[in-house]
């Protein structure tokens, strides 16, 4: 090995160590930023190490790719609004997976004939996973952005079709693994994997996106790890595995927070056959005027805000913080209750509220805040639905039975901010809205909140 190769390997080792430190820093908001600087340094070192340690024959494509990528990346980092974070993350899963898949295709073109059998297996895995994650993530991003219809797309025989496509893909994979010169089979596998990614994500509704996002995150990481096996490169294996496991842990957490299994999310097609499960909800929804609501809030001892995806669509995060501050200046104790699957990706609500300068100490997790609802005067539900649906706790027949919820119905009174009388994304009826303690305040969440703030000032 030459000196430059040693240098390159040293930068890879450094990068691996710094990546782990960076993720360790993520355990607290105070240390997280510093940790990410370490990771950025590690990445830069690895890039420089690679450019020095490999014999580069042409710089044109490298410089062009780095320049274009940096411009697009910087543009995304600076201009994407926080409310669009789920789409952006899905899109970057697609980019990461595409890079892994293309590196795999390139390796195949250049080295396929002399590749040992284990490497070929890893290569097939990398290309397959990379390709299906690319298209799957693009569909997810399209659904989140609203370019593609968000409701689950389902048809008769869908699972059978998906299963047969999957088996075809695996058959190509096995054939390619055992036959080094099967070029056509390799490219068929690539094509089928692209198609399978689409099929995998179209039946999944927007409300299940937190799980899908985490899974795609995991796949993109595993594809990168497989690239590491193909290139015998340890930093790729380490970084890819960290990403893969992070996504996997998040998927498990999200599934637990919905009391569903991963198979059920992927193949269950939630939200399609719903009507019969929630028929027996009766009663009327009580509407409340702005002034009454403001009065209740102003004279409360403790108010808990419960944000959901509606907060993001209405861009109401600043309005809720302003209202909360007014209340706090009147001596009201204000807290925020965050359900793990509120929003469209893990931690979505936390980021939005942090953007509006809500201190993170005011954000409470479900287990912490649930015991506090009985001693809370007003719970304000902002565009959340399933995560506060008491049916999950009380009605064993409900489709979301057993899903842990924020128990807002135990508060002395509940104010629900909602656009209209319709059902939520899942299509489930929510008995919370019919309870005597619940009052509905219809309208766009953002304007409702700022009107409430004005009304509180006049109390």
């Amino acid at each position: 090995m030459s000196a430059s190769t040693y240098f390159m390997e040293a930068t890879y080792l450094l990068a691996s160590i710094l990546f782990v430190f960076a993720l360790k820093g993520m355990s607290h908001p105070e240390t997280a930023r510093r940790g990410m600087f370490l990771a950025e340094g590690g990445m830069l070192a690895a890039i420089i190490g690679t450019l020095i340690g490999t014999e580069i024959v042409t710089w044109v494509w490298i410089i062009a790719g780095l320049t274009i990528g940096s411009i697009i990346g910087a543009w995304m980092a600076i201009w994407v609004p926080m409310t669009a974070m789920p789409q952006r993350t899905a899109l970057s899963h697609a980019f990461g997976a595409l890079a892994a898949a293309l590196v795999g295709v390139g390796e195949f073109m250049v080295h396929a004939s002399e590749m040992p059998v284990v490497t070929r297996g890893a290569l097939g895995f990398e290309v397959m996973l990379g390709a299906l994650t690319t298209t799957g993530s693009l569909i997810a991003a399209g659904k989140l952005q609203g370019i593609i219809y968000g409701k689950p797309v389902q048809f008769r025989g869908q699972n059978i079709l998906n299963l047969s496509v999957f088996l075809m893909m695996m058959a190509c994979f096995v054939y390619f693994w055992t036959h080094p010169d099967a070029t056509a089979v390799f490219y068929s596998m690539l094509g089928i994997a692209f198609a399978f990614g689409v099929l995998l994500v179209i039946p999944i509704g927007s409300a299940d996106m937190p799980v899908v996002m985490s899974l795609l995150n995991s796949y993109a990481g595993l594809a990168a790890a497989a690239t590491g096996f193909v290139l015998s490169n340890n930093v790729l294996i380490i970084a890819g595995t960290l990403d893969g496991f992070s996504g996997f842990i998040l998927s498990v957490l999200m599934c637990k927070a919905m009391n569903r299994s991963i198979t059920n999310v992927l193949f269950g097609g939630f939200g399609a056959v719903i009507a019969e499960a929630s028929a027996n909800v009766g009663g009327v929804m009580r509407e409340i005027t702005l002034d009454d609501a403001a009065m209740q809030l102003a004279f409360a001892n403790q108010v808990i805000f419960v944000p959901g995806y509606g907060l993001a669509t209405a861009q109401a995060q600043h309005a809720v913080r302003e209202l909360a501050e007014l209340l706090e200046s009147r001596g009201v104790n204000v807290k925020y209750a965050i359900h793990p699957v509120a929003g469209r990706m893990p931690g979505h609500m936390n980021v939005l509220l942090a953007e509006a300068n809500v201190p993170y100490s005011a954000l409470y997790e479900m287990e912490q805040i649930n015991p506090e609802f009985p001693s809370t005067d007003v719970a304000v539900v902002i565009g959340a639905n399933d995560v506060v649906n008491p049916d999950a706790r009380d009605n064993p027949k409900s489709l979301i039975a057993g899903m842990p919820i924020l128990e807002v119905d135990r508060a002395r009174s509940v104010i629900v901010l909602k656009r209209g009388q319709g059902r939520g994304f899942s299509g489930l009826e929510n008995p919370l809205f019919f309870k005597p303690c619940t009052a509905m305040l219809y309208g766009d969440a953002k304007s409702s909140l700022s009107h409430l703030a004005q009304a509180v000032q006049h109390v």
Binding site: R33, L242, G247
Partner: protein
């Protein structure tokens, strides 16, 4: 890949998986979105594989083009991912810092 390298790679994979589990299960739900975008940026390390494909293969123009697309995609991930993670993490403030930010 000879068997010794393969076995070493499997060790690396297993240990990284274990380490990842230990480290990531300590990340609070508060930071799950930044975590996802951070791990995403980190897995943009496939950039180094893309660089080799784009520039170090002799007499393979198609490989260079594929490599160019891969470099572009991975760079978007690295630059965009780290950039947006930092932007998000900057927003998480303790009670004092957030009061100051609001006054500004």
């Amino acid at each position: 890949m000879n068997p010794a390298v393969l076995i070493a790679s499997i060790y690396v994979f297993a240990l990284a998986a274990f380490l990842g589990y230990q480290v990531i299960s300590r990340v609070p739900p508060l930071l799950h979105t930044p975590l996802m975008s951070a791990t995403n940026a980190i897995s943009g390390i496939s950039l180094i594989g893309s660089l080799v494909l784009a520039g170090a293969v002799k007499n393979q123009p198609t490989a260079h083009i594929l490599g160019f697309i891969a470099v572009t995609a991975a760079t978007i991930n690295v630059v965009g991912g780290f950039g947006i993670t930092d932007r998000m993490l900057k927003m998480f403030k303790s009670r004092n810092a957030s009061a100051k930010a609001v006054q500004k």
